[in-house]
C-alpha cells in the first residue's frame, strides 16, 4: 500500500477579504516535502495574497494552514526562505552584507552568512559584486542577490513569488538551476508564476488559481491530460471529399489541417484517409501545452479581466 507523501505545507479553506472583495476564496493546497510546487494564475488571481497567508505574513479570515508541522507558520520562519514579488533591498548595503543580513534575520550567524554569501555570489557569476553596494548593481543582479539572500540559511521551505520576472534569459536559466539545486539539497520549493514555460519545466505539482479560487491541482501531466491530443495532418493528395473525412473541428492551417484527435484514436481516421487515396505527407500528434490548459481553465473572461 502506498503511503501518502509527507507534506511540507498544507492549507484548507483559506479565505482573505479586503473590504467586500474576497481576494482569496477557499483555497486548498498540499505541498509534498521535497517537491517543486507551482502556483499559477493570471494577474490579480490572488497568488501573492495566498503566499502571504501561507507564510503567516497575513492572517487568513477563514481556514487554516500548517507549515513544516507548525500551525502558526511564523514559528517555522527560520526554516523558510522567501523572495517576495516586490523586490526590496537596502540600497546602501553591500551585496555580501545584504545576503548575510537576510540570513541573520532567519537565524544564521553573520560570519557564516558572509562566507556563504561570497561563495554563492562567486558561483552565480557575481564575484565582482561582492563588495558593491546594491544601488550600484543592475536590477537583474540585485534580484539575484536577493534570491541568494532568501536561500543563504539553507531553508527547508522556499517560497518564490514570481521569481523569473525581470530576469534575462541567462539569469532565468541560472535561477532554474538554483531551484533544482535547492530541491536536490532536500528543500521544498513553492513558487508562483504566470509564465507557463517555467512551470512546465520545473513543477512536480501545481495549482491553478483564478479569481481567488483553485481551479486545478495536480501534476503537469495531469493538467495536460485534461485536454485531448491535437493532430496536424498534411495530405499527399488533397482531392475533393477530404474535408468530409476529417473530424468536424478540423481547420485548415497552411497546407494541412489541425484537429483534436478523436476519442477512437488516430488510427481509424488514418485508415479512412489512406483508403480514399489522400495519403499522408505529414502528420504530427501533439500533447496540449500547459499554456493551453491554463487558458482553458482560467478562461478568456478571467484573462480579459487581468490588468495590463
Amino acid at each position: 500500500m502506498l503511503q501518502a507523501p509527507e507534506l511540507a505545507l498544507q492549507a484548507h479553506g483559506l479565505v482573505k477579504r479586503f473590504g467586500d472583495r474576497r481576494v482569496v476564496d477557499g483555497i486548498d493546497i498540499a505541498v509534498p516535502a521535497g517537491s517543486i510546487y507551482g502556483v499559477l494564475g493570471p494577474n490579480g488571481a490572488g497568488k501573492t495574497t495566498t503566499l502571504r497567508m501561507l507564510l503567516g505574513i497575513l492572517e487568513p479570515d477563514e481556514g487554516h494552514r500548517t507549515l513544516l508541522g507548525h500551525a502558526r507558520p511564523r514559528e517555522a520562519s527560520d526554516r523558510v526562505g522567501y523572495l517576495p514579488e516586490e523586490r526590496g533591498l537596502y540600497p546602501g548595503m553591500k551585496a555580501r552584507e545584504a545576503i548575510a543580513f537576510m540570513g541573520a534575520l532567519r537565524g544564521l550567524d553573520w560570519r557564516t552568512g558572509r562566507k556563504r554569501a561570497e561563495a554563492m555570489l562567486e558561483e552565480a557569476g557575481l564575484g565582482h559584486a561582492i563588495d558593491e553596494k546594491i544601488r550600484k548593481l543592475s536590477k537583474g543582479m540585485a534580484q539575484l542577490v536577493q534570491l541568494l539572500g532568501s536561500v543563504v540559511h539553507e531553508p527547508d521551505f522556499i517560497v518564490l513569488d514570481e521569481p523569473f520576472s525581470g530576469l534575462d534569459p541567462v539569469n532565468q536559466n541560472r535561477l532554474e538551476a538554483l531551484i533544482h539545486a535547492q530541491r536536490d539539497r532536500g528543500a521544498t520549493i513553492l513558487f508562483s508564476t504566470h509564465v507557463m514555460a517555467h512551470a512546465e519545466r520545473l513543477c512536480d505539482r501545481l495549482t491553478i488559481i483564478a479569481r481567488g479560487r483553485a481551479r486545478f491541482e495536480g501534476t503537469v501531466a495531469d493538467a495536460r491530460g485534461t485536454l485531448p491530443y491535437r493532430a496536424h495532418y498534411v495530405p499527399h493528395h488533397a482531392h475533393e471529399g477530404l474535408a468530409a473525412l476529417l473530424p468536424a473541428d478540423a481547420v485548415r492551417e497552411g497546407d494541412g489541417f489541425r484537429f483534436v484527435v478523436p476519442d477512437e484514436g488516430i488510427e481509424p481516421l488514418l485508415s479512412r484517409l489512406l483508403a480514399a487515396g489522400h495519403g499522408i505527407s505529414g502528420l504530427s500528434i501533439e500533447r496540449p501545452s500547459l499554456h493551453d490548459v491554463f487558458v482553458r481553465i482560467v478562461g478568456p473572461d478571467a484573462l480579459e479581466e487581468t490588468p495590463a
Binding site: 502571504r52 497575513l58 537596502y90 541573520a104
Partner: protein, 414 residues
Amino acid sequence: MSNTRRLIRQTLTIARRDFTATVFTPTFLLFLFAPFLFMGLSAAIGGMGAASIAERGERALRIVALTAPADRELLFAGDRNLRAMFRDRDAPPALELPATAANDERTARAQLDRRDAQVTAVLYGPLDRPTVLHAPIGTRSAAYLAQLADQGIRLRETGTRPKSTARLVEVKRARAAPLSSDEGGFFAVFALFFLTLLLAGQVVSSMAEERSNKVIEVLAAAVPLESVFLGKLIGMFGVALTFVAFWGTIAANVASVLPGNVGAALAGMAPALGLPTFVMLFVAYFTMAYLLLGAVFLGVGAQASTPREIQMLSLPITIFQVAMFGLASAAAANPGGWVATAAAVFPFSSPFAMAGRAASAPALWPHLLALAWQLGWVALTVAIGARAFRRGVLQSAGPKLKWFRRAAVDTPVS
C-alpha cells in the same frame, strides 16, 4: 530556540542593521558635528547682534543730569561708585553731565528729544529735590538718576573720599555650591528636551526607508513586526547614545580649555544630588524619555505612507514635545507647586520634570519611584506602539487604505 530568545535575536539583528546603517555613514558625521555648526552659527549671529546692539547703545543710549557746575564732580563720583555694582550688560546707559547753566524743564525735554543720542532719562533741578523726566523705556534709568542725586547729596555732605575701604577676597568653596533650584532644573530639562527632540524625532521617518525600498515585506516575512519595531527603537537609541557619549565626552573635557573664570564657575556648579548620581539619573531619564517618545513616534510614523504624510505627522509630534518641555520647565520654575507634581506624574513629561528635580532637590527616593513609574509606562507605550506599528505596516485593518492591502490589490501580478 525559545520564542523569547528568537525574538531577542531578531530584534538585535534589526537594531544592528539600523545602527550600522546610520552610524557608519558620512551623513552621521554631519549629524554628529551639527551642534558645532549650530553653536558656531549661533555664536556668530549672537556676536554680531550683541556687537550691533552694543555699538548702537554706545552711540545712542544716554542718561543726562542737568546740574549746577559745582555738583558735577559729585555726580561723576557717585556714578563711578554705583556703576561698579553692575555687570556691563546690566549697567545703566552712560551718564552725560552737559556743561550748561540751564537747569529747567524745557532744557530737560530738549535733551529727551535729541536726535544724536537716545536719551532715556533726564534729571534737572536741585539735587535734594530733583525732577527726572524719562521715556517709557527709561523707568530704571530714571530710578538710577534719582539714586544718583541722593548719592550726590551724601557725597556733598561727607566728601567724595570713601569712608570705608573694603578688602575683597575671592575664596574657593570646599564643596561645590548647588545650583539654584530654577536655573539648575531648567538647565537639566532643556538639555533632556534638546536631546530627545534631536534624537527621538528621528524614528518618525525611520520606516520611510523600508517603505520606499520595499524591504518591509522581507522583514515582515522573516521576523515579527514587534521585533522590527523594537529593533528600530533600540537601533536608533544606540545612535542616540553614541551622540550623547560623544558630546558628553566633549562637555566633560571642555571645562579645561575654557577661560579660567568660566571653567571655574562651571566646575563650581553642582546638581543637588551630586554630579555622579545626577549623571546616572540623567542617563536613566534620557532612556525613559527616548523610549517613551520614540515608541509613540515610531508607532505614529508607521501610519504614514509617504514623506509628505510623515511631514504632516511631525508637526503635532513636535507640538506635543514642546508642550511636554513647557510643562517640565514650569515644574522646574516652581518645584513645590501642583504643576511640578503634575509634570512628574504625567508619563510623557515625567522624565523631563524629574531630571529638573535631580538638579535642584537632594532627595533620591522620588527618582526611584519615578523611574519605576516611567518604566511601567515605557512597557505600556512600547506594547501599544508596537501594535500601532503592526497595524500601520501590515495595513490589514481599519478604514484607511493600507500598505499590504494596497500591494495585494494594486500589484499587477499576484
